[in-house]
């Protein structure tokens, strides 16, 4: 009997899940700290793959992705913390949390649609500026609303996101986005990346597809934002600033523009690398107590990494290649 590759994918994902879950449960290799990093990496997987839809698969250039995550985070945070005041005690509250998360995602989606409509008719670099400006506007607005805590951030968010929850949401999101990439719409996205004018000539409505991919990616960014704030139990305007977007951007380009598996690898690799750097810098400080090396050097390393990737390996780690398990079988015929 031949097993479909989709089942295999889910099977491997479940093996990963049980390995992590059980080794954390029995205190083997994975402690709470490492589990937390895995959780953050999984959320970054959603953010990176969704930004890759815009920047990698469609060849546009958005640098305000965390703005959408902020919308999702704050909307869902307001719903769970300030309006419903629910705690992660029973199943019905989890269902309410899922509803809050979806509402957050849908709000981000709506804003993405409104923002994409006027700007996506234009060339890529204008989109960069508009999305950058959008991220700044969102941050400014949040800073000025006292109801959500303003510059203090939204505090006391219940901890709904645990490993199981984050893992399955990430798995579902990645599978949905993979299916979009290999659908008719996905082909339209790729044709826009390869040559916008030629794809217009063969009847692809480029503006429609650009707005579509932008809207879809905004939705998933909103979902990721609400997962993140329910994991960290705080939503703070600085998390969702330009620097947050830069981290995701580095992950997209390090992994490879137009490669879902590359994005997943880069999200895990760079999150772990960033935590590792924290340890290395602390060790360096212990060796040389007179010269203290600040934690800011982590961001210097990120910036340097981005420049070096662009100079020496423009296509990223994976290029446009995929690990075979992520490619549908029909695609190979």
């Amino acid at each position: 009997m031949k097993i479909s590759r989709n089942y295999k994918l889910i099977f491997y994902a479940l093996i990963f899940y049980f390995l992590v879950f059980l080794s954390h449960r029995f205190g083997f290799l994975i402690n709470d700290y490492i589990l937390h990093i895995i959780n953050v990496s999984l959320i970054y997987v959603i953010l990176t793959v969704s930004l890759n839809l815009i920047n990698g698969f469609t060849g546009q250039f958005s640098i305000g992705h965390m703005g959408f995550a902020a919308v999702g985070a704050y909307i869902s945070g307001i719903l769970t913390t300030l309006i419903w005041k629910i705690k992660p005690t029973n199943l019905s509250n989890y269902i309410l949390f899922i509803i809050a998360m979806l509402i957050g995602g849908l709000c981000a989606m709506g804003i993405g649609y409104l923002l994409g409509l006027p700007t996506l008719r234009l060339r890529g670099d204008y989109l960069a500026i508009v999305t950058l400006g959008f991220g700044e506007i969102i941050r400014t607005i949040i800073n000025n609303i006292d109801y959500v805590g303003g510059p203090r951030g939204l505090l006391g968010i219940p901890k709904f996101s645990n490993f199981t929850f984050i893992f399955f949401i990430t798995l579902i999101s990645v599978i949905i986005m993979r299916n979009i990439v290999y659908s008719t719409h996905g082909r339209a996205f790729k044709s826009i990346r390869e040559d916008p004018i030629a794809s217009e000539l063969v009847g692809v409505n480029t503006t429609k597809y650009k707005v579509m991919v932008f809207t879809i990616a905004s939705f998933f960014a909103g979902i990721a934002g609400s997962l993140l704030c329910h994991l960290l139990q705080i939503a703070h305007p600085t998390q969702y600033g330009f620097m947050g977007t830069i981290l995701v951007l580095v992950m997209v380009y390090a992994g490879g523009m137009g490669s879902i598996s590359g994005s997943i690898i880069a999200a895990f690799g760079l999150t772990f690398m960033s935590e590792g750097l924290r340890l290395v810098l602390r060790k360096l400080d212990d060796i040389t107590p007179t010269v203290q090396i600040g934690i800011e050097w982590r961001m210097v390393v990120y910036a340097l990494l981005l420049i070096l990737i662009m100079l020496f390996r423009t296509e990223g780690l994976m290029g446009k290649r995929e690990i075979r398990i992520l490619v549908p079988e029909e695609e190979e015929k």
């Binding site: 700007t119 890529g124 960069a128 950058l132 400006g133 910036a303 420049i307 662009m310 100079l311």
Partner: protein, 302 residues
């Protein structure tokens, strides 16, 4: 109405607009020639401010007062030097790669400069007070309810002087002719014997020097400097360049003054509006006149 439309805000707006104009000229020149949004341009501006700061602090700690024009030249030189270095190391190797990779590199360069400044122990991420009184004494002239400080006069005079110099450079010199040729058609310019890389380098140097000058002017008029000070003025100056028509030098000046004036008026009305108006202007321009006020429409070539 009287509260919003008064002469004082107009003066403040022109002062702010002059600084934006100096930054946006660099943006628009670089964009006109290499079609690259140089995100790091705001950071050249920051470097100009820091260069002036350290010059003044060091010289006054040694006990002598350095002449103001020399501080200006040091600032402009620092901006130009970093711009040239960024062009040589980061942008030049990507000249014939896809345009987006150069854009991403520009973001990387911008981040690198900001974070290396906040990570270096003798600079650090904290705010610093710019020693403007040591450089130039503040004088305030009063006309009824309106006040005019000599800082505003210095800002406007210096930026207009530099703009006149740039206009002369671009319109009446050989280098300027070459710049215009490269911006119109790189390959044809190359065939005519123009050293493109040299012209691009000159453009970066001039743009960086202007940004450095804007940095020291900002330090004098708004005396608070920190490593991330370049991000927002850089963005707003870029929006000003888009508003005037990107790649168009008079357009950048016009756009900057409109930007500065509308920002001060909006801020005097509501501070949140003041922060957001730049982006509102950008989105409105992109919807109704994407080529900018003075730009001309270019048909897309296949």
């Amino acid at each position: 109405m009287e509260k919003i439309f008064n002469l004082q805000q107009l003066i403040n707006g022109i002062q702010l607009g002059s600084i934006y104009a100096l930054i946006s000229l660099g943006y628009t020149m670089v964009y006109g020639i290499v079609r690259l949004i140089n995100f790091a341009h705001g950071d050249f501006f920051m470097i100009g401010a820091y260069a002036a700061y350290f010059t003044v602090i060091l010289s006054s700690s040694k006990g002598f007062n350095i002449p103001v024009p020399i501080v200006f030249l040091i600032s402009m030189g620092a901006g130009a030097g970093v711009a040239a270095l960024a062009n040589q190391t980061a942008y030049k190797p990507l000249r014939y790669k896809p345009r987006l990779s150069a854009l991403i590199t520009a973001i990387g360069v911008s981040m690198f400069i900001e974070y290396i400044f906040s990570a270096l122990p003798f600079i650090g991420p904290s705010y610093r007070a710019f020693p403007n009184e040591k450089l130039i004494k503040n004088k305030i002239y009063e006309f009824g309810t309106t006040t005019l400080s000599n800082y505003a006069i210095i800002d406007v005079v210096i930026s207009i002087g530099l703009m006149l110099f740039l206009t002369y450079l671009v319109k009446y010199t050989k280098v300027g002719k070459a710049m215009r040729a490269v911006s119109q058609d790189k390959d044809a310019a190359k065939l005519m014997g123009i050293d493109i890389e040299k012209i691009i380098m000159i453009t970066f140097i001039v743009g960086g020097a202007f940004a450095g000058a804007a940095g020291i002017l900002t330090g004098i008029s708004y005396p608070r400097i920190f490593p991330y000070m370049g991000i927002l003025p850089g963005l707003k100056a870029f929006i000003a360049a888009v508003l005037g028509g990107i790649g168009n030098i008079p357009g950048a000046m016009l756009g900057s003054y409109i930007m500065g004036i509308s920002e001060t008026f909006a801020t005097s009305y509501n501070s949140l509006l003041g922060e957001g108006i730049a982006f509102a202007i950008l989105i409105i321009v992109l919807i109704f006149r994407p080529q900018g006020l003075l730009g001309e429409t270019i048909a897309e070539k296949v």
